[in-house]
């Protein structure tokens, strides 16, 4: 008997006939790691929730069963459902910020599960919690027990979450995008910890993710889901090397590949150069005191040549976003100079307006970077506000032409942002940034919020537009795969300093700094195989 067996499960939205999971069957054996891979809306999360019968009440089971050790969870009375949840099936969610209770100490939250589900003395419980915290890499256990969740970083919180779930040694762990909110290096650490903990407790894992290479590294079997159906199933290595279904091939093709290196003339005057940039955060004037300041950038020098895409990479807290914000004029610099075309730009100086008009920005989150109350025409057209001698009709025509260029048509002019998908919104954001034909573009994680296949399309569009308009770009990202695809030159940042910079091929193939190597070890090097699939090679962190 399988540990978990889902048979012909069909889920629908109540009061409609809309099926969001269609006839899905899968099984998980004890100790096995099974992954469900799919994009947003594929129904993968709903399948995971159905394992514990935790679906939203608006989602109803039309047919099928979810059998845990042969018992149909949906048919169990609530009392027995609760006895299984937590104790025998554990769950880790995507967002470590919200899955721990902010008002309870870590110790309290970890003890809670043991008190509910295990008959132990308080002494034994405390010992078990302390041991588990040590195993997930918490240094000062006594302090951690008394600390609150906000005192820990996202990665640490996810470790604590894992600790609290694995404390009960469940037979099955459901991990729904457990590392999506974390940056690449921490993502790898948390995944390895999860695999190690579950292996030693012989816990099976049902891993839900959109990240095919990451999943392939850790899972035994992979199921690929699209629009509520499982389209392909197989051993992890087979799926990658010999994908059978067209959609799986599309997912693999959407992974980032390295194109041929482009020649950039480094002798020209840089479009934008930054010299000795220092930024202190905090130091805010309170009523009677000044708060402690924190140095976010510690003397940065960079330059971007005409027609060049320079990528800035680094983990969270490396200062890469601050750098973009300072150049965009959103955050004041504490000291340092900004040179546009070799001339310093300062607010109020003669060249400032010219510089502002020639630098634009694309933001990470297409859901919040467009004013929800404006139509697309007004949103994109707003960038033309500073152009004189242009009437309404001309404006509308230019906006329409730009929309066509980013792969949207005139029919989008009168729509509102909420009527558009994430990919379409990001196209609108790109149109808005490029309509004035700027010489310099700052792209702050422009594709991080997008699904894999949409991400590939937007990146292709971005490359095509760059070729056509020849703008220079500062491309800020934590995703080295994306950077490998688009960048001419790469700058690696850590703790507000540049630790390495060089051409893309040098940084990716001959990394010099230990931190660069660590970043690279979190992403695979990809090579195509004969079967239309890919072969992955993981880089070593050391040496």
């Amino acid at each position: 008997m399988s540990l978990l067996e889902i048979r012909n499960l069909t889920l629908e939205i109540a009061r409609t006939d809309l099926a969001i999971v269609k006839n899905v069957s899968l099984s998980v054996e004890p100790g096995e790691i099974v992954a469900i891979v799919g994009e947003s809306g594929s129904g993968k999360t709903q399948v995971a929730r159905a394992v514990m019968a935790l679906n939203h009440r608006a989602i109803r089971r039309r047919a099928g069963q979810s059998l845990f050790r042969g018992q149909d969870i949906f048919a169990l009375p609530d009392r027995e459902k609760r006895a299984i949840r937590g104790s025998q099936i554990g769950m880790v969610f995507q967002e470590p910020m919200t899955s721990l209770n902010p008002s309870l100490t870590i110790g309290r939250q970890l003890l809670e599960g043991l008190e509910l589900h295990r008959k132990l003395t308080q002494q034994e419980r405390l010992a078990k919690v302390a041991e588990m915290l040590r195993r997930v890499g918490i240094q000062d256990v006594d302090h951690a027990m008394r600390a609150y969740p906000h005192e820990f970083s996202g990665g640490m919180r996810q470790r604590i979450m894992l600790a609290s779930v694995m404390l009960l040694e469940p037979a099955l762990l459901i991990a729904d995008e457990p590392t999506t909110a974390l940056d690449a290096v921490i993502q790898r650490d948390v995944m390895e910890l999860m695999v190690e903990l579950t292996r030693s407790a012989n816990t099976a894992v049902l891993l839900i993710s959109h990240d095919l290479p990451m999943v392939a590294r850790y899972a035994d079997r992979i199921l690929v889901m699209r629009s509520g159906e499982i389209v392909e199933e197989g051993a992890a290595s087979d799926i990658l090397a010999r994908p059978q279904h067209e959609y799986t091939r599309k997912l693999l093709a959407a992974l980032s590949w390295r194109g041929p290196a482009r020649a950039v003339d480094m002798q020209q005057t840089p479009v934008i150069a930054v010299e000795g940039l220092v930024v202190d955060y905090g130091g805010q004037q309170r009523l009677f005191s000044r708060s402690q300041s924190k140095r976010a950038l510690k003397g940065i020098d960079i330059s971007v040549q005409p027609n060049e895409i320079v990528a800035v990479v680094g983990g969270s807290g490396s200062g890469k976003t601050t750098l973009g914000n300072v150049i965009a004029g959103l955050v004041p610099a504490t000291s340092g100079r900004l040179l546009y075309d070799g001339k310093p730009v300062l607010p109020g100086a003669s060249g400032y307006a010219d510089w502002r008009a020639n630098s634009q920005m694309v933001f990470q989150d297409p859901y919040s970077s467009l004013d929800p109350r404006m139509k697309i025409e007004a949103l994109v057209g707003e960038a033309l506000r500073h152009e004189k001698r242009i009437n309404r009709q001309q404006k509308r025509e230019r906006v329409a032409a730009m929309l066509t260029e980013v792969g949207l048509g005139e029919q989008f002019l009168d729509r509102f942002p909420h009527e558009l998908s994430g990919g379409q919104r990001q196209r609108v954001a790109i149109a808005r940034a490029l309509i004035c034909n700027p010489r310099f573009l700052i792209a702050d994680e422009p594709v991080s919020a997008l699904d894999v296949t949409v991400r590939a399309q937007v990146l292709d569009l971005f490359a095509a537009l760059q070729k056509r308009y020849g703008f220079s770009c500062l491309f800020i990202s934590h995703d080295l795969g994306v950077v490998e695809q688009v960048a001419d030159r790469v700058i690696v940042m850590q703790h507000g300093e540049i630790v390495e910079q060089g051409s893309r091929d040098d940084v990716f193939d001959r990394p010099q700094h230990a931190y660069t190597r660590k970043l690279l070890s979190a992403i695979p090097a990809l090579a195509p195989t004969a079967g239309g699939g890919i072969e992955m090679r993981w880089r070593q962190a050391a040496g």
Binding site: I13, H56, A58, Q284, Q285, L287, A328, G329, L330, A353, R356, A357, S359, Q360, M361, F363, Q364, D365, S368, S369, L370, D371, P372, R373, E382, A383, R385, H386, A429, R432, I442
Partner: protein, 272 residues
Amino acid sequence: MRRFAPNALIGGLLIGLLFLMAIVQTFWMPHDPMKLNFASRLQPPSAEFLLGTDEFGRDIVSRLMMGAATSVSISLMTVGLAVVLGTTIGLISGYNRGLIDRVIMIFNDALLAFPGMLLALGLLSVFGANQYGIIVALGLAYTPSVARVVRGAVMSLREREFIRASRTMNNSELYTMLRHVLPNCLAPLIVLGTSMFGWTLLSESALSFLGLGVPPPAPTWGNMLAAGRPFIEQAAWLAIFPGLCISLTLLGINLLGDALRDRLDPQMRGAV
């Protein structure tokens, strides 16, 4: 799919009725509300005087209608004053933050800590007890809560990326504030404005009841209620009908406010 909202319907009907009364009285009333007629003093409701007459023989229906107009116009102007002032202060404070925000908010919080009614009473003694005195006093008393709500909305909005996007587009701060920040604060403002309309109505009635409102003989629901108090045993309708008008209007406003909040709150949008 839009659900049937009974509170929007009932609230809308009651408030519609209030405005209808206020409008109709400008060209038609059953009797002259100011005409004294000692022959028909303290009459109970009858076919001629639908809700009876008061101690000077004036028709209650007509006086209620005229009072409705006074109350509606006072409330509208008060809310308008508080919203305009409070929004300006809230926008400046929330958008600039820093020292300006701190100073403004210290004053604002001090005013908020002061009971609104007491503040209004104090201001009334300065401005004088008349219609405009009430509007200014209550308007100023309600400004701090508007400022607070707007400031909160602005502070969360200004961190949103479309505000940052507007700034990178070389738009002036004033333009960004008016074009992007203000329109996105409207939802909480409308909801607050609606319930404030109710508070004003109630406060105005209370002030009139205390004799600090619109001076007689002009009728308001509050001073009618106050005038009916000595006669509560002989002619209960003098107090009952103005009281009923106040209660029903407040009920209507609260229902309408709830319904508006449900419609405008982004959290409620797109819920399954």
